[in-house]
Amino acid sequence: MRPASKARSRRNWLVIAVPYGWLLLFFLAPFALVLKISLSQSALSLPPYAPVFDWSDDFRAIVEKLQALSFESFAGFFNDSLYVDSYVSSVVIAAIATLLTLVVAYPFALAIARSSPKVRTILIGLAIAPFWTSFLIRVYAWITILKDEGLLNHFLMRIGLIDAPLGIFATNTAIVIGIVYSYLPFMLLPLYAAIEGQDQALLEAAADLGASPWRAFLRITLPLSMRGIIAGSLLVFIPAVGEFVIPDLLGGSDTLMIGRTLWNDFFVNRDWPAASAAAIVLLILLVGPLLVYERVQLRDEKVRA
């Protein structure tokens, strides 16, 4: 091998090492810790589970402790419908919210992509502007808007559209509104990127051939933006399934979501193994849609190549 190519291959290796190192440190290592806790037993001690591995352990101690690990916490899921109910309810709420976010974000993305470059910068800036304020405070603001004595109900009653408060606050509707609002930019930006890159000449050609704007949209713009739709939907859906803050603040006490069930296991029952096991199952369930996305992307790239 010539020295130049050797140096290049070393450089390539370094470039790859950085993201892999990142994943190892911030994804795999914490995952291993959580996995280990999920196989432990809860105990009234510091920390509240056993066994605890120690740097000073000799080989025999490590083997003994490894033997103490078990899948008991995972078995717990099948004895109680609570976990399945929580998962299902989380997925349903997240799916509805993702769909609504898409419906709201698409016209926005289209408008941004079709405006002049100067206006475009301003519009994108506006879409990202809410990030300058804390997420918590923005969700809190929705309480003031949605509650029975809040801005929305006062306004609707003032203009005579309703006689009694709508009672949105502390319901699943409020959670969906909160998710749509909070995650809108995550949908908007991939959509914008997908639409903006499209060749305008295609639409002109469609018009020349007699297609109505709506037909041109359905046949050209929408299919070409599918990657943006999938990326945006995943970016909204995945965190929304595990969302805790929005249901806690805007939802009612009867809202069952996996985030809250995890919270109960962890904070109320002090059962870290059960909470960790639930987290791992959640992760496995969410890896599914991610793999689908990955395959779609790969196929896309192959088609292009």
């Binding site: 809860s42 009234l44 001690s45 510091l46 920390p47 509240p48 109680d80 419908s81 609570l82 109910d85 804390s134 918590l136 405070i137 809190y140 309480i143 509650k147 029975d148 004595e149 502390a170 603040l249 009612g252 006490s253 009867d254 809202t255 069952l256 069930t261 109960n264 962890f266 904070f267 109320v268 029952n269 002090r270 059962d271």
Partner: protein
Amino acid sequence: MARTHSLKFLALVGALALPAASASAQQQQKPAAPERTVNVFNWSDYIDPKVLEDFTHETGIKVIYDTYDSNEMLETRLLAGKTGYDVVVPSATFLARQIKAGVYQKLDKSKLTNIKSLWPDIMARLAKYDPGNEYAVDYMWFTTGIAYNVQRAKERFGNKPLDTWDIVFRPENLKKFADCGVYVLDSPEDLFSIALNYMKLNPDSKNPNDLRRAADLLGGMRRYVKKFHSSEYINALANGDICLAIGWAGDSFQARNRAREANNGIEINYVIPREGTLMSMDTLAMPKDAPHPEEGLKFIDFLMRPEVAARNTSITNFANGVITSRDFVDKDVLGNKSVYPDQATMARLFTVTGYDQAVQKIVTREWTRVKTGK
């Protein structure tokens, strides 16, 4: 006490994430800056803020003050270890369990000069959780009862008194309040013991069947309850967002005071139901790994000073554990039978012990069933 919702929640989340980092940062800075600090983790709205300033003014010790609104939040942090806090305020039932887990250090009584002014009756009740009163002293004690909007209650019940658990446990009564908003503490320990007592069972029962029966009774409230939450009801009552809450005495009177300050025409009252209710105690304790034990003891001693304890009680409407402080407590607060109950009421107050791991899982599961129906 003009604290808002959002600030409180931020404090809570901040408490979860930041103090360990900030505490360790302080330790690192120590050699450079000889400034003395004490890290305190207390319930939200549970102190006269000026007391903290006065402590710093008098001793030169800076107070790093964080807040939480549930025992579970505190316990999780304590069990994870290395909280960086010197003084924490667990409720007695949680204290007992945490002592067993080895979370706390014994208090050096020789450093607590005000220990002689503690209330013997309260400390005796506390000894049930902390035998010999070795690890903790009482900070405040209080009851769980019914807080309500006086006008709304009058519209529904006329002049009938609301001092009975029938109001919340009989659906035909609670139904009348559903349209104006009902909140219930998200605290299974309070609600299960109260329900058990209402059903004439032992409020301290750990029998799964008893707990299930209590859950059936509590679950009857769900249709009419807007939210189960342990701190939002203060502002919700004061704003008129809700008209009835199962809440803690001091918090309910804080709601009354906030409504008065806002001058919004809302009058809040709180009653101890005549069937009797749970008496709870919050205590001052020091984690084993407290980074500033000396300053922590100084802070605890300061809070036990009769004049200081009285100021905290006057502001929070929670009775404190220092008997001689009663000479300094605001006359209205001292005369309030719901804050300082008379002997006959005191006799009807019960205390309960904490749940062990197995019972806790049953209670949490049943409580989820109460709240969600699933």
